[in-house]
């Protein structure tokens, strides 16, 4: 904080007035509005009837909403494994000494993250298309015509199929984040491990992974937050269908509010999304902190015990030999 300079109060106020007003108007006012309208039966017309908690009881018993919530959770889990897991492997490969043209891999890998979800949705629709799709084209090329399907019409597969584009799009994003973390590890540490005879996998597991733990936590947080708000891809690819088998929360809120113009219940769903998304993000934080520190501590302790045991064994051996 500056002590020597004290600008006039009205100057500071003047600078802050517009940003704060804008921010409150577009972020906090809608939250209050959603809460307010969630207590009304309102189909978008001039008539609004107060119906107390009826919307909320409906929400709690709304199977579509809860299946949409679990679909969001499914996306979160699949994307954490897919996006961050694959990104980590790619980072290790890119960082290996024998890799050439690292810059190109980074540029190409990050590319999908820069295009709009609508385009990604279109591209993957073309891949999954039954008559002219790439997927069926390849199945035909390898002689497995029997596996050809109208892919996005399969209720049991559709969640997996819509999560693949999501994974594909953001591998590069997590790759560049992890890459910057890994490249900040001093090469001396890695080289001394190599001289000591640690294999590539051992180096990844015992040196790289613990050193980029914090960045990994950031990635997981981004991944959880990102997938709780999944909407664009799904809107373009399936719009939640077939039936409700690829419905996610934001998509359901959109459908109820704008296609059935049920704005009262739509507001209630919005409140539900708000609470659940916050709860999942917060819960994942708590879980991660607990789990990560714990597992590393446990490993550390196990490791120390192991060393101690070996040392004692060695002393015993030496004594026996003597």
């Amino acid at each position: 904080m500056l002590k020597s300079i004290k600008p006039k109060k009205w100057v500071v106020a003047a600078y802050l007035a517009v940003p704060v007003a804008l921010y409150v108007f577009t972020v906090f006012a809608p939250l209050v509005a959603a809460l307010f309208y969630s207590f009304f039966e309102w189909k978008g017309g001039p008539v609004k009837t107060f119906n107390g908690l009826a919307n909320y009881t409906q929400l709690i018993h709304d199977e579509v909403f809860w299946s949409a919530f679990w679909h969001n959770i499914f996306l979160v889990l699949v994307c954490i494994i897919g996006q961050i897991g694959i990104a980590f492997i790619v980072v290790l490969l890119i960082n290996s000494k024998v890799t050439k043209l690292q810059g190109i891999h980074r540029t190409f890998g990050f590319f999908p993250s820069t295009i709009s979800a609508v385009c990604i949705g279109f591209i993957w629709q073309m891949i999954y298309d039954s008559k002219r799709g790439l997927l069926n084209y390849f199945l035909e090329a390898i002689g497995r015509d029997d596996l050809k399907k109208v892919w996005l019409n399969e209720p049991s597969l559709v969640m997996l199929l819509v999560s693949i584009p999501l994974i594909w799009q953001f591998i590069g994003y997590y790759m560049v984040i992890l890459l910057s973390a890994v490249s900040s590890i001093s090469t001396e540490v890695l080289e001394s491990a190599e001289i000591d005879g640690a294999t590539g996998i051992q180096r990844a597991r015992y040196i790289v992974l613990p050193l980029i733990k914090n960045t990994l936590l950031v990635c997981i947080t981004l991944c959880v937050a990102g997938n709780m708000k999944a909407f664009d891809n799904i809107y373009v690819m399936t719009a939640g269908g077939p039936g409700y088998s690829s419905m996610v929360m934001a998509m359901y809120g959109y459908k109820v509010s704008f296609e059935q113009s049920n704005l009262g219940y739509g507001s209630c769903i919005s409140v539900g999304i708000f609470v659940l998304a916050l709860a999942v993000i917060g819960g994942s934080q708590v879980l991660m902190n607990y789990f990560m520190t714990d597992s590393y501590d446990r490993n550390e302790r196990k490791h120390l015990k192991q060393i101690e045991k070996e040392r004692k064994q060695a002393i015993k051996n030496r004594k026996a030999n003597a």
């Binding site: 940003p19 939250l31 000494k97 590319f111 279109f122 073309m126 799709g133 591998i171 934001a250 919005s270």
Partner: protein, 294 residues
């Protein structure tokens, strides 16, 4: 470097290690190229497929065009109903204005929150920070209600409001952190020379903050250009469609005419793709800074 050379020399002594190393090199590079090509393949596929006629594409979806034609592009650009170029200019205007406003506001607010001691400093900081936690998709319905009640929907400036507001928390946070790292001597010297608050802010601090402001701008160029859901609910007037909305009209209507959709996507993607490949290094650096510090 010297160390590495020494190590390779040691390993080169045994032929077995050399072979193993060679195999490893091939395998690793193969996998990386496979990964990179899957990332870039759709772009290449679209580029050459958009030069095919629908009939040719449907007969062979993978083959290179034997008689390249620009007919898809001319069809799309000459047809007034698609309004595709209009959506590109709309997106460009929205993106440029949003990013300018984001940078300006984040700079001012970030600076004030980092440097000026006043009663509301902490509460305001917490308020802006809380914005990072709010799942913005829960705001879709209420923002629609408020905007349509107040007649704010369907204007050229409509999308600026949510785009700027949603970008502020992260941007302010980045600027605030950056300003804290600047020594206060700069401003103190300026104050002794009789510079006013505004003069110091824009004349002295602004140039110093340039790197972080570039980062803020880069992060938000992409999110503003690609944003879909709020545009979808707030813009109904086709003359105001942004790029993602302009593309949306191709669902259903032409599901069978893939080359045409590809041409449309490429036209709307062009500005952002060129921007990306021209500045990829800075862009990736900016994105990483934004993600890790935010």
């Amino acid at each position: 470097m010297a160390k590495e050379m020494k190590m390779t020399k040691v390993e080169d002594n045994s032929a077995g290690t050399r072979v193993k190393r060679g195999v490893l090199t091939v395998v690793i590079n193969f996998f990386l190229w496979f990964f990179s090509l899957t990332c870039i393949f759709p772009l290449i596929w679209m580029l050459y497929s958009s030069l095919k006629e629908k009939r040719v594409f449907n007969a062979d979806i993978m083959g290179l065009p034997k008689e390249p034609t620009l007919v898809n592009y001319t069809k799309i650009l000459s047809n007034k109903d698609y309004r595709l170029m209009q959506s590109v200019t709309n997106s460009a205007r929205t993106t440029i204005l949003s990013v300018l406003l984001i940078v300006l506001i984040a700079f001012i607010v970030g600076y004030i929150l980092a440097r000026i001691n006043f009663a509301l400093n902490k509460p305001l900081y917490v308020m802006f920070l809380m914005g990072m936690l709010i799942p913005i998709h829960s705001l879709m319905v209420p923002i629609y209600i408020i905007f349509s009640k107040m007649g704010l929907s369907n204007h050229w400036y409509t999308l600026l409001l949510p785009y700027v507001s949603f970008a502020l928390p992260m941007s302010i946070f980045l600027v605030q952190g950056y300003v804290k790292g600047i020594p206060t001597e700069l401003e103190e010297a300026a104050a002794i020379d009789g510079s006013t608050f505004s003069k110091t802010l824009f004349g002295i601090i602004l140039p110093v903050c340039k790197p972080i402001l570039v980062t803020v701008a880069i992060i938000n160029v992409f999110s503003c250009w690609n944003e879909f859901s709020f545009a979808l609910i707030l813009i109904k007037d086709r003359a105001l469609y942004t790029v993602p909305l302009g593309l949306k009209q191709f669902t259903g209507q032409f599901t069978s005419d893939y080359p045409k959709i590809m041409a449309a996507m490429l036209i709307t993607m062009a500005p952002i793709v060129i921007f990306y490949f021209a500045f990829s290094k800075q862009i990736i650096k900016g994105m990483v800074a934004g993600a890790v510090k935010g």
